[in-house]
């Protein structure tokens, strides 16, 4: 099977390390960032097939990052899963309108379920 690369933007160190541990156990190659600054060059370096995106981030919000990606020639078709604890309908609607493949509220999901979603999207 080809190498599957996932990139995660998550500012909480503990959550980020748990997601990385889980994804590496599932044989994904994982790139990380604690913020969305210079996201395009980070994606250029990591070449992921999927991005796991938190929303409440320092500097640039997850929504702005998603918008930037969707407007970028190279990365506009990148699969994106929003993984946030913002769970209001208006946030979910905004994420969907901006083109997220899925929107998961962290507190309602386990990492197994996140992995299932990733596998489903990349299948």
């Amino acid at each position: 099977m080809n190498e599957q690369k996932v990139f995660i933007i998550e500012d909480d160190d503990f959550l980020r390390s748990l997601v990385v541990t889980k994804l590496q156990k599932e044989n994904f190659t994982v790139g990380t960032s604690a913020d969305g600054a210079d996201i395009i060059s980070k994606l250029d370096d990591a070449q992921p097939q999927l991005l796991i995106l938190d929303l409440m981030l320092p500097q640039v919000s997850g929504f702005d990052i998603l918008k930037e990606i969707r407007e970028h020639d190279t990365w506009k078709n990148l699969h994106v899963i929003i993984f946030s604890n913002l769970g209001d309908e208006e946030d979910i609607q905004k994420g969907t309108e901006l083109g997220a493949d899925d929107y998961l509220v962290k507190a309602n999901f386990t990492l197994d379920e996140l992995v299932d979603k990733i596998k489903g999207i990349l299948a």
Partner: protein, 255 residues
């Protein structure tokens, strides 16, 4: 209208606007706090799950039992937080409702399975008396109205005892439908009945049996029903049970 009256009205309007702004600020603060609390709790949830799945190595039965209890406690904390978030959202002035013509029978049938396991563990029977004909539609936000029946069913299961019964009935009126949810559980003491829809209120008899709860379930249920121009009332007798009646106006297309 006299100048004096106009002045008073302007004053009251300014006061109301001030209260709304304060309430909004309070809601935003609570929303921020609950979000911040959810982040570490999510990390704990994932850690327990990974431990229990053996992702991080193996451990003894005794250690596993402790981890399971830790996980259950964390889930309870997340659930309480979720109740606070929902209550806060429903109180805020600008909370959006996405209403659509909906079939209440379908909405309630979709909720029941969530409660079957906890009901079965106490030998509680949940019965839905389906109407002979399809129900006329009501204009509701399905997600929000589901919260009403989730809260009522959760209470009914929580405060019923082994062998009790929970029954759901539908009644169609000219311009509304009523849904009743009856249990044969603890009942609400007379002196508590006028307060049960108040925020954070919990009757003494439920505190005595040490069942957990925030006292937000019925407050939120009433809030949501009333935002749909509906009404909620109950009849209850201590130690005999409680019946809640929820009435919702029919969609205009169905009138």
């Amino acid at each position: 209208m006299t100048d004096n009256n106009q002045e008073k009205i302007t004053e009251l309007e300014a006061e109301l606007e001030h209260c709304r702004a304060e309430n909004k600020a309070k809601s935003e603060f609570l929303s921020m706090v609950t979000h911040q609390l959810r982040t570490p709790l999510s990390g704990i949830k994932w850690t327990f799950k990974m431990l229990l799945d053996g992702d991080l190595g193996s451990f003894t039965d005794e250690q596993r039992t402790i981890i399971e209890k830790g996980s259950e406690s964390n889930e309870r904390m997340l659930k309480l937080l979720q109740e606070i978030i929902i209550a806060n959202q429903n109180e805020s002035w600008d909370f959006q409702y996405n209403t659509q013509p909906s079939d209440m029978q379908k909405i309630i049938s979709n909720i029941i399975p969530e409660f079957l396991e906890s009901a079965r563990s106490k030998s509680i029977d949940i019965k839905i008396n389906h109407p002979d004909e399809p129900l006329p539609l009501v204009t509701v936000d399905p997600e929000k109205i589901s919260i009403v029946f989730q809260n009522l069913l959760e209470n009914a299961v929580k405060y019923s005892e082994d062998g009790d019964t929970i029954t759901v009935n539908f009644t169609v009126h000219d311009d509304s439908i009523s849904i009743s949810l009856a249990d044969t559980g603890l009942g609400i003491p007379d002196d508590a009945q006028e307060y049960i829809f108040s925020k954070f209120f919990r009757a003494d008899n439920v505190k005595e049996i040490k069942k957990e709860g925030t006292g937000l379930g019925l407050f939120t249920a009433k809030n949501i029903v009333e935002k749909h121009n509906g009404s909620i009332r109950f009849e209850s007798k201590k130690n005999e049970g409680t019946t809640f009646f929820i009435t919702l106006p029919l969609s205009t297309v169905d009138k």
